[in-house]
């Protein structure tokens, strides 16, 4: 049986807001196959306590990932990883990395899109 494991790290030195960092960490856990479709995440309250952040920060990260269709909120079952192909999660993670890299080097999102479109 595969194991559900998650290691999350938040850095105050990081320019990204905490909820972004948290979302990235969860994305990573899903992309790496550590947290699989249907697996339930620890409750937001536990994540907030263990990371010493406001519960709203966690909920914001959860909502963002739900909008990305990575997570599902289900009544009585808490927050679970949405059923999807593992490839999609990996691509999504790579896209996020690419956007961050582009931003770091001063490219706007629009310029990045143009670059992708012009790519062979």
């Amino acid at each position: 049986m595969l194991n559900s494991i998650m290691l999350l790290r938040l850095e105050s030195a990081d320019s990204r807001p905490l909820h972004e960092q948290l979302a990235a960490g969860i994305r990573r856990a899903v992309a790496d196959g550590h947290w699989r479709p249907g697996d339930r995440l620890p409750p937001a309250r536990d994540l907030a306590e263990q990371l010493d952040v406001n519960p709203n920060t966690v909920l914001r990260a959860f909502r963002q990932l739900r909008d990305e269709q990575l997570l599902e909120f289900r009544r009585g079952r808490g927050v679970t990883v949405a059923p999807r192909s593992p490839g999609a999660a990996a691509v999504k993670e790579a896209v996020h990395g690419l956007i961050a890299l582009a931003a770091h080097h001063g490219y706007t999102r629009q310029e990045l899109i143009t670059m992708i479109e012009e790519a062979p």
């Binding site: 049986m1 194991n3 559900s4 494991i5 998650m6 290691l7 999350l8 790290r9 938040l10 850095e11 105050s12 030195a13 697996d39 339930r40 620890p42 409750p43 536990d46 994540l47 306590e49 263990q50 990371l51 010493d52 952040v53 808490g78």
Partner: protein, 325 residues
């Protein structure tokens, strides 16, 4: 290997001696026993089940050797090298042997010198004959297991994931116990079945039977899964599909965390266990996260990637102490 062989030899020799004892006792008394023996007594004290003398002997011997076979398999797999394991294994097997011998002699005594099994009478000593040899056997097994293997695996220095100032770290896992889920469902089905029989008035099912089965099934539900998280708050365990009950161990109460190999038998069994030495949550086999607490019993939680979990906790403890000191 040198360690496993004596254990297996002990099991086989013990079971052989037990078998010889059972056979010898029954042969010695065979002239004074009826052809069919009463083997079970109803609530009123009247015998209600019978078996032939040979069947009884075969059944008792079979149970003894089945226990021995399981013991040999466990020993050969090497999961049972440390003393506590050996204690549990031999204690269990010797206890089983004691109980078999006790029940056997009890059946023989009850049937002794009676013309017909219907006259077989169970004496007041029945309970003593069942419990005392079992307890004595268990104790003997633990003593035979000895303290020879008390030296545990060499402990590596506990790992630590360094936490820089301004950094926040947490680790989480979710463990499912399929066996517990299956067991709870099976017991719940039995509860439903016996309840249906009770309501229908079939088979004389007393009401405590379905009630007890239902309670056992419900008690198992929290142990079907556990979510474990480790971070600034300490270690939080959430049991079952509803994340309740919750057990929180504060970071300040933890002295040190480590990854250790523990078999369920070493910490008292599967599920949630509390022994004088430790409290354990064993839902899977393999590595355990051991939390050494200040002035309290150690906690063992069977989790995957316990190494990382221990690293996170030790890292946070170190960071806390660095700021405090």
């Amino acid at each position: 290997m040198t360690r496993r062989l004596p254990l297996i030899t002990t099991i086989v020799v013990w079971t052989a001696v037990l078998t010889a004892g059972l056979v010898a006792t029954q042969l010695a008394l065979s002239d004074r026993l009826p052809a069919t023996l009463a083997t079970h007594w109803g609530p009123g004290g009247d015998p209600d089940r019978t078996a032939g003398a040979t069947t009884i002997l075969v059944a008792f011997t079979a149970v003894a050797w089945l226990g021995a076979a399981l013991g040999v398999v466990a020993a050969a797999r090497g999961a049972l090298a440390p003393r506590l394991n050996r204690g549990f294994l031999l204690g269990g097997l010797f206890g089983l042997g004691g109980m078999l011998a006790g029940v056997h002699i009890q059946i023989l005594l009850a049937n002794l010198d009676v013309g017909d099994w219907r006259q077989a009478d169970l004496g007041v000593e029945a309970v003593v004959l069942m419990l005392l040899p079992a307890a004595a056997g268990g104790l003997l097994g633990v003593l035979v297991a000895g303290r020879a293997d008390e030296v545990r695996e060499p402990q590596a220095a506990p790992g630590r994931i360094d936490v820089a100032p301004g950094q926040r770290l947490m680790w989480a896992t979710r463990v499912h116990a399929t066996w517990m889920t299956v067991m709870s469902v099976v017991i719940a089905c039995l509860a439903a079945l016996t309840l249906a029989l009770y309501i229908a008035g079939l088979g004389d099912v007393p009401w405590p039977v379905p009630a007890t089965l239902l309670l056992v099934a419900l008690a198992g539900v929290p142990l079907t899964s556990v979510t474990v998280s480790a971070g600034q708050r300490g270690v939080t365990l959430r049991f079952g599909p509803f994340g309740w009950p919750v057990w929180r161990i504060r970071l300040a109460d933890i002295e040190e965390a480590a990854e250790v190999e523990r078999h369920a038998l070493e910490v008292g069994g599967w599920g949630f266990r509390s022994t004088p030495r430790a409290t354990a949550v064993m839902l899977r086999s393999g590595t355990c996260l051991r939390l050494t607490r200040r002035g309290r019993k150690d906690v063992y939680v069977s989790v995957p990637d316990a190494d990382t979990a221990a690293g996170v906790i030790n890292g946070l403890l170190h960071a806390d102490r660095a700021t405090a000191g």
